[in-house]
C-alpha cells in the first residue's frame, strides 16, 4: 500500500484514450516505479550503479522488447511501449535508457534482421532479462555521422575478425550480448558479439554528470574473433541501425514526458508549500507563469506522443514523424527541468529533490539517439528536399 499515489498531469485526459491493456500496463509500471525505484534512485545515482534488482523486475513484469511479437516477447502495441518508457523515465532517464537499449536497440535488430536460429537463441533470454543487450554504433570520432564509421569486420573464412572501438554504449559493461555495426568490405553490417568472445572488452566510462544510474561503456575490439553465424543476415547499410534508432526515439518521445511530469509535479508541490513573504510562492504571478507554461508544453507533448503512437501502431509513419516528437519532447522536458529547478530555489540543488538529476539526465537524452540539431535538419530536409548535414552534395 502506498500512502501517496502519483497523479500524473494529464490536462487534456490523453490517457483516457489508451486501451484497457495499455492502462493496466501503465499502472503496473507506475506502481513498481513508486515502490522500488523512487525510494532508491538517489542512492543509485550517488553510487553510480544500475541496481540489478531493476533488471530482474523489468524481466518479471515482461516489459522488455515491448512491441516485439513472438520468441517470448511481450507483443504489446507501440503505444504501450511508449507508456512504459514514460512511466520508467518519471523515475529516471537512466532506467528508461536500460529498457530502450535492451528492447529497441538490441532485441529489435535480432528480431527484424536476424536468422530464425538467432531469434530463437537470443530473444527469449533477453525478454526475460536474463541476458542484457547493448548496441554498438557510435564511435569516438563518429557520432552524428555514423556512416563513416571505421570499425571493421573481416571475413576470415571460418570466422569474422572485428577491429575498432565504440563509445557511449549504454549497458556495455554489464551486457551478455552486443549488437555491433561494422563495415564488412565497406558495407555496414550487424554482428552479434558475446561477452566472452576473445578480443572483446567493455570497460565502463566513469565520471559522468548525467545518467549516473546507468552503465555507459566503451566497446573495444582488438582482433575480436566471432563465429560466422553471428552476422545479421537481414540488412545491409545504415538502414539497419537507423531502424533500431527510430524505435528507440519513439520510446524516448514518450519517456521525456515522464521526466517532465516528475519535474512539474515536484515544482507544483514545492511552490504550494514554500512560504516567502508570508505567502506560498505559488501565489506569485511569475511562479504561476512558469507552472502554466510547463502545463502547456507537457500537454502539447502528450498529444504529439499519443498521436505518433497511433500512427506507429497503424503502420502509417515516416522517420521524420519520430524525429519531430523526439526533438520536441526532449527539448521541452529539459527546459521544464531547468525552470522547475528555478522554482525550487536552493533546495533544487540537493538530491532531496529529483530536479537536477532529471535536468542533468536530459542533457544526455537531448544528445543521444540523434542530437536536437540533427533532428532539426532531418525535418528541414523533409520540408525542402535539400540535405543540410554536410557541405558535400
Amino acid at each position: 500500500m502506498i500512502t501517496m499515489a502519483y497523479e500524473a498531469l494529464d490536462f487534456y485526459d490523453v490517457d483516457s484514450l489508451l486501451s484497457e491493456e495499455e492502462r493496466m500496463v501503465r499502472d503496473m509500471v507506475r506502481d513498481w516505479v513508486d515502490e522500488e525505484v523512487i525510494p532508491n534512485i538517489e542512492n543509485a545515482c550517488r553510487e553510480g550503479v544500475f541496481p540489478d534488482e531493476w533488471r530482474v523486475a523489468l524481466g518479471e513484469m515482461g516489459v522488455l522488447g515491448a512491441p516485439l511479437k513472438g520468441y517470448g516477447c511481450p507483443g504489446l502495441s507501440y503505444t504501450a511501449y511508449g507508456v512504459i518508457c514514460r512511466e520508467l523515465e518519471r523515475g529516471d532517464s537512466g532506467l528508461r535508457s536500460f529498457a530502450s537499449v535492451q528492447g529497441s536497440l538490441a532485441m529489435y535488430p535480432i528480431w527484424d534482421f536476424g536468422s530464425e536460429e538467432q531469434k530463437n537463441y537470443y530473444l527469449p533470454k533477453m525478454a526475460s532479462g536474463e541476458w542484457i543487450g547493448c548496441f554498438g554504433l557510435t564511435e569516438p570520432d563518429y557520432g552524428s555521422n555514423p556512416g563513416d564509421m571505421i570499425t571493421k569486420a573481416e571475413d576470415k573464412g571460418d570466422h569474422y575478425l572485428l577491429n575498432g572501438a565504440k563509445m557511449w554504449i549504454t549497458n556495455g559493461t554489464i551486457a551478455e550480448v552486443a549488437v555491433v555495426w561494422a563495415k564488412l568490405d565497406g558495407v555496414i553490417r550487424g554482428f552479434i558479439v558475446e561477452k566472452n568472445d576473445p578480443g572483446f572488452s567493455a570497460p565502463e566510462m566513469k565520471g559522468k554528470h548525467s545518467l549516473k544510474a546507468s552503465v555507459t561503456s566503451e566497446l573495444v575490439f582488438q582482433d575480436c574473433k566471432i563465429p560466422k553465424d553471428r552476422m545479421l543476415p537481414g540488412v545491409k547499410g545504415l538502414r539497419g541501425p537507423f531502424s533500431c534508432l527510430n524505435n528507440a526515439r519513439f520510446g524516448i518521445s514518450w519517456g521525456a514526458l515522464g521526466s517532465a511530469q516528475a519535474c512539474f509535479d515536484s515544482a507544483k508541490d514545492y511552490a504550494m508549500s514554500r512560504i516567502q513573504f508570508n505567502h506560498p510562492i505559488a501565489s506569485y504571478q511569475l511562479v504561476q507563469n512558469k507552472l502554466a507554461w510547463m502545463l502547456r508544453e507537457i500537454t502539447k507533448g502528450q498529444l504529439l506522443a499519443y498521436h505518433l503512437g497511433q500512427k506507429k501502431d497503424a503502420g502509417v509513419w515516416i522517420p521524420e514523424h519520430i524525429s519531430l516528437a523526439k526533438m520536441n519532447n526532449v527539448d521541452i522536458a529539459l527546459e521544464i527541468a531547468r525552470v522547475a529547478r528555478d522554482i525550487h530555489g536552493a533546495n533544487g540543488i540537493l538530491d532531496e529533490y529529483p530536479i537536477m538529476r532529471h535536468m542533468a539526465n536530459l542533457e544526455s537524452v537531448k544528445t543521444y539517439e540523434g542530437t536536437h540539431d540533427i533532428h532539426n535538419l532531418i525535418i528541414g530536409r523533409h520540408i525542402t528536399g535539400i540535405q543540410a548535414f554536410t557541405r558535400e552534395a
Binding site: M1, I2, T3, M4, A5, E7, E20, E21, M24, V25, D27, M28, D31, W32, E60, M61, G62, V63, A66, P74, G75, L76
Partner: protein, 251 residues
C-alpha cells in the same frame, strides 16, 4: 477448493473527496482502486489457490465501473469474475445478501475479504455474509492457509497473536496481511483482457431488495478544524492532551 474473494472498488485512498449538494461527488473522483484490505485477501486467496489447485472466484457488488477492478484481479490470477449490479442496493444488508447468493451459487468453501472498505469504513460485510451462510467468521486476520482439512489463520490476541483453526466453511476478514498483493505482469494483463466478466442483478439471484430502515440524510465535509492553538510552557501539556482526546478525538 472454491475460494471466493469479495472485492470492493473505492476511491483511491489518496484521492480528494469532493462533496456537492449534500453528497460525495463520485464523478470528481480522480482514481478508483481496489480497497486496500481487499488486496491482502486477494493475495491470500491466490496463495491458497496455488497451494491447493483451487479456483479463485472474484466477486464484487457495485456499478459498471467496478468491472475494471475484476479485470485487475484476473491479471494477477483470479479465475472467475462475477459482477453483481448494485442497482437497488440501499445498505450493507442488501450487499451481504447479494454476495451470499453468489457464494452459494459457486459453492465456495472459503470466503476472503478485507476487514472494512476504505470508503464506508463499515466492516459489516464479512461477518454479515458469514451469518447469512451460517458460516464461521474470523476477523482481523493476517494470513490464511489450508492444512489437513482445516483453515489455519492468525489473528491478534491480547498478548500478541493467536493461531486459530476452523473446520468447515468460513469467512476470513483481513487486516494488514503478511504479504502484499503480487504485481501483475504483461502476460497476466493480456490474458485478463480476454477474460469474460459474468454480470448479475438482484433479480437474477432471486434476492428481493426490501426497503431499509435507514435513510441517508446527507454527506458533508468534516467539521472545520479549529485554528492552531499555541501554548507557552510545559504546564499546558495536560490541557493539550485532554484537547487531543475531547476536541480532536485522536487518542
Amino acid at each position: 477448493m472454491n475460494i471466493a474473494v469479495l472485492l470492493k472498488q473505492v476511491p483511491d485512498t489518496t484521492a480528494k473527496i469532493i462533496i456537492s449538494e449534500g453528497k460525495v461527488d463520485e464523478n470528481s473522483v480522480s482514481k478508483w482502486s481496489m480497497s486496500p484490505y481487499d488486496e491482502y485477501a486477494l493475495e491470500s486467496g491466490l496463495q491458497m489457490k496455488d497451494a491447493n489447485n483451487g479456483l479463485l472466484i472474484a466477486i464484487t457488488c457495485g456499478p459498471d465501473r467496478s468491472k475494471k477492478m475484476l479485470t485487475d484481479a484476473a491479471a494477477v490470477g483470479a479465475d472467475t469474475l462475477i459482477h453483481i449490479s448494485d442497482e437497488g442496493v440501499k445498505d450493507s444488508t442488501h450487499t451481504q445478501q447479494l454476495l451470499a447468493a453468489v457464494i452459494k451459487k459457486f459453492d465456495a468453501n472459503v470466503i476472503l475479504c478485507g476487514k472494512q472498505a476504505a470508503d464506508t469504513n463499515g466492516g459489516s460485510t464479512g461477518p454479515g455474509v458469514a451469518e447469512i451462510l451460517d458460516a464461521a467468521c474470523v476477523t482481523l486476520v493476517s494470513e490464511v492457509s489450508f492444512t489437513d482439512g482445516k483453515y489455519i489463520t492468525m489473528r491478534p490476541s491480547n498478548n500478541g497473536t493467536e493461531k486459530v483453526s476452523v473446520d468447515g466453511i468460513s469467512v476470513f476478514a483481513f487486516d494488514k496481511g503478511t504479504t502484499e498483493l503480487r504485481r501483475p505482469n504483461v502476460r497476466g494483463i493480456m490474458m485478463a483482457k480476454k477474460k469474460a466478466i459474468e454480470s448479475m442483478t438482484s433479480a437474477d439471484l432471486g434476492v428481493d431488495l426490501s426497503s431499509s430502515n435507514v435513510t441517508l440524510d446527507s454527506q458533508t465535509p468534516p467539521p472545520e478544524k479549529a485554528a492552531g492553538q499555541k501554548f507557552d510552557g510545559a504546564e499546558h501539556v495536560p490541557t493539550v492532551v485532554s484537547k487531543l482526546r475531547n476536541e480532536a478525538n485522536v487518542i
